[in-house]
């Protein structure tokens, strides 16, 4: 949960590279793009491979997410 653990590459390029990686991670997370990854990680940690509840595919997940937003709208502030 602590984000990308920027590998400890020494020197300036390492610092720049890790900063870019962190920024990319942050933008991806803030925009919500990592939602499926989070779902998959959760699903795998809770349900074993042999269990009945199937994991949604990426496409199914995003459709399901849109449906949930449809039936449970969230306000935006003024």
């Amino acid at each position: 949960m602590s984000g990308t653990q920027g590998a400890a590459v020494p020197g300036l390029t390492g610092v720049v590279r890790s900063a870019v990686a962190r920024l990319a991670w942050y933008i991806r997370a803030v925009s919500g793009e990592d939602a499926y990854d989070k779902y998959r990680a959760h699903h795998e940690s809770v349900h074993g491979p042999g269990e009945a509840e199937p994991m949604l595919t990426e496409r199914e997940f995003w459709r399901d997410r849109a449906d949930r937003q449809d039936s449970n709208p969230q306000g935006r502030c003024c």
Binding site: S2, G3, Y26, V30, E58, R63, C77, C78
Partner: protein, 759 residues
Amino acid sequence: MGATSSIPQGATDEPDLTQDPALPPVALDPTIHEAEEAHWTPLKIGIWVAIALLGGLSWVMLAVVRGETVNAIWFVFAALCTYLIGYRFYSNYIQKHLLRPDDRRATPAEYKADGKDYAATDRRVLFGHHFAAIAGAGPLVGPVLAAQMGYLPGTIWIIVGVVFAGAVQDYLVLFFSMRRGGRSLGQMARDELGRVGGTAALIATLTIMVIIVAILALVVVNALAESAWGVFSVGMTIPIALFMGCYLRFFRPGKVTEISIIGFVLLIAAIVGGGAIAGTEWGAAMFHVEKVPLAIGIIVYGFVAAILPVWLLLAPRDYLSTFMKIGTIGMLALAIVIVRPEITVPAVSEFATSGTGPVVSGALFPFLFVTIACGALSGFHALIASGTTPKLIEKERQTRFIGYGGMLMESFVAIMALVAALSIDRGIYFAMNASPALTGGTVEGAVTFVNSLGLTGVNLTPDMLTQTAKDVGEASIVSRTGGAPTLSVGLAHIMQQVAGGSGMMAFWYHFAIMFEALFILTAVDAGTRVARFMLQDSLGNFFPKFKDTSWRTGAWLTTGIMVAAWGAVLVMGVTDPLGGINTLFPLFGIANQLLAAIALAVCLAIVAKRGLFRYLWIVAVPLAFAAIVTITASILKIFSSVPSVGYFAQNAAFSKALADGETSFGTATSVEAMEAVVRNTLVQGILSIVFVTLAVIVIFTALQATWNAWKTHSNATNEDLAVPSRIFAPSGILATPAEKATQALWDALPSTKRKAREH
């Protein structure tokens, strides 16, 4: 799925929070946090002394020195230093004594985890989500309108108000909702205040939502009417959003960043293209829309947008709006620091005391505090803080950074909006913000009116107005009320000094208009949806079929009712002979602050039921202030004998004129206009009465609940049962040394053990 079953049944009063011994610590002992805070190294002391001195100096420059001009940088420093001190000391005090978060307890994101709605989210990411959800047009518009009272009253209220009221409300509601599994404000009101208080809170929320959506829509209409460029570029956001929605749905699901970048490029193309198209004869004719048809267009749009599935329009525009929001606000902050504009507006203007300002009527108390709602204290945030955010919090202690910190950030947005509005010429400011009823909508009329105000240092010439209009690519800037155009001129004025020079002013102006219109339209759409569900839920108590939200007819019907409600208020504002925004905006602020009073009243009852009477003042002080301000403002709006302030006084004056057979009165030039004033003031007056009555009921029931708790020494709580946590995360933006040490233990753990199975 089925994760709720992980809540243990039948736990005792003192929950057992013994953690799994196989895991590293899931929480730091509170004494470690306290020891870290109490450990004052010389460097730390030096930094805080420097912050205090810089903040103090800035306030002296703003409030005491008051030279001919004051540099905008002092606003930035005064705000930032005060926020830092408020966050470090006051929110810490609240955390330690009032809320007492316990990181040994799992948050709903952990014990209800489903990987979808409940999912532990990195605190810095959640801060971004929460900020994007709370920050909208409110903190941009209110400060602009309040700038007529001078720079000082608004600045003090925004900065002091947020530290003691706004951020406290957000923090408390977020924390209490998190402790209740992410329950909404309405549900908490019912739990804590009983049936009467809960119902009043629900009706108040619904009515307030209607007003807020209507007035936001009015801001957009005022900004886009008779502006071919604005209509074209903002109109283009609809096909752009539809394209983005289809791309994500059918072509590349989940590729949010990619499509947001594509959308952003298209958006910029729409702004640039808008200028070219508005410059052609056919384009100017085609996209030049008057206020009333534009309002009807937005009403139709609001209905269609709210019944379309979210993936098609709402979700993609939300992505765009988040990008624009964070980007533009960051850009403006940077530009203000680089340009450091000199501000010539007086600290406190004559309108603060006389109450005769042309932008919004009424004197400083109470009307400053309702004109600036968002940015200082915004009740609407209570709906967000009890919505998605509490379901995503990773650890209890993070609520301080996200709830309190997020609101400080919004306050900073309000300060920047204020600086942008203050940086433009004061004569131009009044010409733009006085209603057409006062200026006649013409350059000559505006010049005559503004110069007749007799303001020191203001000498408006027709040339200034036509030149500014030309610079920003508009036919006219006279009486462009509603705050958005003024802010856009201010932003364009500042940005062109950083990038592009005066040739770029038109682009920056329309960029700013686009930025505001985007999230207002999202707020209109989302607000209509939320209101529709609330209405369906309420109607469902009488007609059970309405509870089924997938019932198409019911959904369309209730959406239609909500759109008709805000649409009626919007049309009323657009056609109001008295100017619209200046009569309606106080209603918006009052509604928002009353919602804040309701939220704080619920918090008061919760704190009392926890038996924390010693610290009740933390909630009671902002509640009392919000209650006094809004009730006084409502009473003035209802009973004042000054027609420009009191709705019924205005109503009586126009009714009498009609009865006397006059054909024009004040700014109304025809019998129809006079009748419209009579009708509008009656509606506005009745709304004021409804709001204040509902709020008084809620506050009264909260006081009753508080009194009962005092008498019975109750220790009742509606919190979910405590569940031991199995994860660890730092609480603030940066991890403290002790948190880093613990995090290292967790990082060393094999990943298979880190997130043990929850069943």
